[in-house]
């Protein structure tokens, strides 16, 4: 996973409540058992004029020239709700998105972002509206900065908006850490826990699942 530290980029507002993962990538666009090849399906229902087609819908923000090279999304409440499909985050990442700023995230989507190098930033809706207003005036000139080192979002003409993110999530993103590698360093502790737990709750430990 690539580390994310300080990102200055074009931001696009998709400020709508309950943008679910099927909007981010419709199930019909998940065509193979793979984490890649998904960017073309990103927001397919909004981005193209017809189901399954690839003719761009000029109304959709990411299709507009002024939003070329968008790396940051400004979203609404409950962003990423619905299906747990990580394909939504893989599609965003493959498209180039590295941060999503929203008032609240669905918990599974939030975790998926952290595991894939996308910074999920929680800011109040009013702050996001203010950022969107600045961006919309001139998206290419008014780039936003998501600064994970200082935990703040900056726009040229606004005060910095501080945000809070858990230390663990921040470290993962800053260092591009692989969580499995990290956890396997605690292998001895895990084994000690299991030995203790197996004595307490032997019924949990199946000898076989071939019954």
């Amino acid at each position: 996973m690539d580390p994310v530290r300080v990102l200055t980029a074009v931001a696009a507002p998709i400020i709508r409540a309950n943008v679910d993962t099927d909007i981010i990538i419709p199930s019909r666009e998940m065509k193979s058992v793979s984490k890649t090849g998904l960017a073309a399906g990103l927001f397919a229902g909004w981005r193209y004029t017809a189901i399954g087609g690839r003719d761009p819908n000029p109304e959709f923000v990411l299709n507009q020239a002024s939003y070329a090279d968008t790396r940051i999304l400004l979203g609404g409440e409950n962003f990423g709700c619905g299906s747990s499909r990580e394909h939504a985050v893989w599609a965003l990442h493959e498209y180039g998105i590295r941060a999503v700023i929203a008032p609240s995230f669905a918990p599974i989507f939030f975790g998926n972002c952290v595991r894939n190098g996308i910074v999920p930033v929680v800011l109040p809706a009013a702050a996001i509206a203010a950022l969107a207003a600045v961006v919309q005036a001139d998206p290419q000139a008014h780039r936003l900065t998501v600064d994970l080192e200082r935990c703040e979002v900056r726009a040229a003409t606004l005060q910095a908006h501080p945000f809070r993110i858990e230390v663990e999530a921040r470290d993962m993103l800053l260092e591009g850490l692989d969580a499995i590698d990290l956890t396997l360093k605690n292998r001895a502790e895990i084994e000690a826990f299991l030995a203790h737990d197996q004595a307490l709750r032997p019924w949990i430990y199946l000898e076989t699942n071939r019954r």
């Binding site: 709508r16 065509k31 229902g45 747990s84 990580e86 669905a106 918990p107 975790g111 230390v167």
Partner: protein, 484 residues
């Protein structure tokens, strides 16, 4: 020891290591996978060269894109679906995990078969790369949905790095009126407190009305915790839970069972335990609920009318969009809305008790002309049990399709769907835009409400049916004229 919540007990009994800042390394007791999102986790793990920590505690099913037509095989209506099935089968074989394959008599929807096979147990941690994993909390487990990368982590290490949620207790008090169900309780909660009302919380469902629910109804209630944006929902296990689990396929037996039950009886929130937040809902007057819009929070009593912006409690932009998408006008009574399809199925409402209650309404009646009605049992075990009672005949004679088990048309994956702008009454969990097909208009409700609506050809409650709504004297105008 100070009074502790059930969640605190579930958390601390699985805490391998405190990772600081509210994050814990949590031991995972059961991992479930399915062909849609589990296959990629198995594949990624294999490519990394890492082994599974304990294959004996990992299970996999084919539910999401497998066809539900009689005589089905690996071919699917979903373009490319076959590859998910065959690759999952191969990956499961290589990983040495238990797969409930397409033709396995125990196959079914993950959150239906896990409880019915006794795979989820009280006090267990259960994860699955599926948002509705919270369903399984109904047995007193800490069960939650994760992404595929986290699934890979759980497979490789037997643990997950989890951000500890805050605790919310939702107490449903009073006595549920006849005809109102667990589904209506879930919809009422989300309607009153919003689709982000549970964000950041582990939700314990409690209170007299929850204790009264049978286990299958509890599964329905916990199922929709994810629609509340909660990390999980769960219910303290009780005698009903133990009676439900006893003798199940993977449940402990004999001395181990006795030992387990002693432990399980301690899985309650202690008197005096404090929660970060508490919600109390009196269900005494709760009516059957139906959604009008495109989020589960857009649920209203079946007697109500399409709300105004002020009544809806949503932003003006979201409100206008939902109204336009659903093809509705303010003030229209829900009951006047004609439906073109009815669906009974999904991890929310496809268990034997759901089918029995729907069948009771359908018996001796027939769906309205032009209505396409489908019933998809949640598992092959449910299907066999229903057939043994003759429920399949009731569904068929009423004009319902009777399918093999799977997630089916709860969501559109590129294969089967309901048509554009078709109005569907559905016992499922999500009424999002295009969830059940491009531009399909979904109304969520209980199986009872779906069955009654199918008969009358419009949104209706079971109590709206009269003895006239039979196979021989089907006269919709007479019913409509009768008020309802």
């Amino acid at each position: 020891m100070p009074a502790r919540t059930l969640f605190e007990k579930l958390w601390s009994s699985h805490l391998v290591r405190d990772l600081g800042d509210g994050v814990g390394l949590i031991a995972i007791d059961r991992i479930f996978l399915h062909e849609r999102t589990g296959s990629v986790a198995l594949k990624s793990l294999a490519e990394s060269g890492r082994a599974l920590a304990d294959p004996a505690r990992v299970f996999c099913t084919m539910d999401h894109i497998v066809d539900t037509f009689p005589g089905r095989g690996d071919e699917t209506r979903m373009p490319g679906g076959k590859a998910f099935i065959t690759e999952t089968r191969e990956a499961a074989r290589r990983a040495g995990i238990r797969l409930f394959d397409v033709r396995d008599p125990l196959q079914g929807i993950v959150h239906v078969i896990s409880p019915e096979l006794g795979i989820v147990l009280p006090g267990a941690t259960v994860v699955c790369p599926d948002s509705h994993t919270c369903t399984q909390g109904a047995l007193g487990a800490f069960a939650w949905g994760i992404g595929s990368t986290e699934a890979e982590h759980a497979l490789a290490t037997g643990t997950l790095r989890v951000s500890k949620p805050r605790t919310l207790r939702v107490r449903f008090e009073g006595r549920l009126p006849t005809g109102t169900t667990a589904k209506d309780m879930a919809l009422a909660l989300i309607a009153r407190h919003g689709s982000v009302g549970g964000n950041g919380f582990a939700v314990e469902f409690a209170g007299a009305a929850v204790r009264e629910l049978d286990i299958e109804a509890r599964l329905t209630l916990c199922n929709m915790a994810t629609e509340f944006s909660a990390v999980t929902g769960f219910i303290a296990p009780d005698e009903k839970t133990f009676a439900y689990l006893r003798g199940r396929h993977f449940a402990p037996a004999d001395a181990l069972w006795e030992h387990a039950v002693v432990h399980w009886r301690t899985l309650v929130s202690d008197d005096g335990a404090t929660f970060d937040r508490e919600i109390v809902i009196d269900v005494s007057d709760l009516a059957p609920m139906v959604t009008w819009g495109t989020s589960p929070e857009h649920a209203i009593p079946i007697d109500a009318q399409v709300p105004s912006l002020q009544q809806s409690g949503t932003s003006s932009e979201a409100y206008a969009r939902a109204l336009a998408y659903m093809g509705l006008e303010v003030g229209t009574p829900l009951r006047s809305l004609a439906i073109s399809s009815a669906f009974i199925g999904s991890c929310t409402n496809s268990r034997l008790s759901d089918l029995r209650r729907a069948a009771k309404i359908l018996q001796g009646r027939r769906v309205a002309p032009g209505v396409r009605a489908i019933c998809v049992p949640g598992s092959m075990s449910v299907k066999r049990a229903a057939e043994a009672e003759g429920l399949d005949e009731i569904f068929r004679q009423a004009g319902f399709e009777w399918r093999e088990s799977g997630c089916s048309m709860c969501f559109f994956a590129g294969g089967e769907s309901f048509g554009a702008r078709e109005r569907v009454i559905s016992s499922t969990n999500r009424n999002f835009e295009s969830r059940q097909g491009p531009e399909t208009r979904s109304h969520l409700a209980s199986p009872e409400t779906v069955a009654a609506s199918a008969i009358l050809g419009r949104i209706a409650a079971a109590k709206d049916l009269t003895t006239n709504d039979s196979m021989t004297t089907h006269d919709r105008s007479a019913i409509d004229g009768g008020g309802g």
